[in-house]
Symmetry: C2
Subunit: 242 residues, 2 copies
């Protein structure tokens, strides 16, 4: 039997209207969808895809083995995650082997910090895979903030705030424009680094960009140091503007 195709479907930053025409079609045609979710939480990807789902399609829920939003580098965590991806790949392979297609729903762009990539690497040799590029979470934030980000020959660095303070500073020091992700408990460290680099004056804090409850403000106006893990800080470039 001809095996099925695995679709990696990028669904954009959160607003269902920011789904591409292609992703909407693939989701609508799918008889089987799969998506990641944290234990006891709704899947964000499924919520974005909901207006496009056909009724009665089969749904495969892949539940992350941890309940925190803060990833740790502890061996137990890495082991648990490894087991989870292995097992999820086996579950999807069983369906694909029956000749059925699976649309794996992904927030943002599937090839940009996406959980999808871990299943893609495990299944790509055995099955046909199609990738639907999506609007990245950061592009959603640029639009939400109405903030042009990169001009002319600006260099953009996308940097996780989880890096050690020195490493974070070394990367941001060569950036004209920056997007800092994974803020959470790293907020104070990030504020120190941006202050030393004199980037803080133009930095913008974005929480829940393009979604309900969106918060946007110049970073200098943020008076507390509490930020969710998925908040972002944008540092716009200042390149050529003829």
């Amino acid at each position: 039997m001809k095996p099925g195709t695995l679709y990696g479907v990028g669904l954009g930053p959160g607003d269902p209207e920011l789904v591409t025409v292609r992703a909407a079609r693939v989701v609508h045609d799918a008889e089987t969808i799969a998506y990641f979710a944290k234990a006891g939480r709704d899947s964000h990807a499924r919520k974005i895809a909901k207006p496009y789902l056909r009724s009665g399609c089969e749904e495969i829920l892949l539940t992350y083995p941890m309940t925190t939003e803060r990833p740790f580098l502890k061996p137990e965590y890495v082991d648990a995650l490894h087991g989870f991806y292995e097992e999820s790949a086996v579950r999807l392979a069983a369906i694909l082997e029956q000749g059925r297609d699976v649309a794996l729903l992904c927030e943002g762009d599937p090839m940009f910090y996406g959980s999808f990539m871990h299943l893609f690497e495990r299944l790509r040799e055995r099955f046909r895979v199609e990738i639907c590029a999506g609007v990245s979470g950061m592009s959603g934030c640029f639009a939400a903030a109405q903030q042009p980000m990169t001009w002319g020959d600006d260099v953009l660095c996308v940097v996780p705030a989880t890096l050690e303070e020195h490493a974070l500073e070394r990367r941001l020091a060569v950036a004209d424009a920056a997007v800092v992700m994974k803020i959470g408990g790293n907020f104070l460290k990030l504020r120190r680094v941006l202050t030393r680099l004199r980037m803080i004056e133009r930095a913008i804090y974005v929480e829940r960009g393009t979604m309900e409850g969106q918060k946007l403000m110049p970073l200098l106006e943020k008076t507390d140091d509490v930020a969710p893990y998925f908040a972002m800080v944008l540092v716009p470039g200042r390149g050529r503007r003829p």
Copy 2:
């Protein structure tokens, strides 16, 4: 009279199916569209939007003052471009002042190296603006190459190959993953830098990603040194893969 709204409509990397549902709607509802094009060339943005255009909508063509694809830093060039953006802003303002909306068509994502940003900065104080985020050209290339780009805490740098060799090397040296744009005549310089940084072994050359005539190959297998200005080189990250 209530002035019109300027829409900055991101249309994605080239495939009309990678237009968002929102952009398709905005384009379809638009009575007036505007787009940039090089003299004597079709507008790429208009071509992407074509399936969604309503028949009989008014079209405003904004023709760049230069015929080459290589931007120069010469003062005459900057002056010509300045005049062009000023004049284009005046043309759109005249329509917006009549209470009519204008949808400005943009390749990729409007806030990411987009010509739109130059008109946005000139019109944002006087008119309501809505930004439709789009799939960036680089996300289109990640999907076309079926290449996961950033894992775990990888730092991604987006770097124009137009930088001086030393500056290019300094940026790429702190990157785990990189997207190099604006290749053209900078190809040999880029190859030298990637070779010195030992990034060339995993670099991928992409020409016309997601479009007709797409070319994809490991950079090491590219035997000539001819590349169009809009080619890209992807250097995938190698971060955590549980």
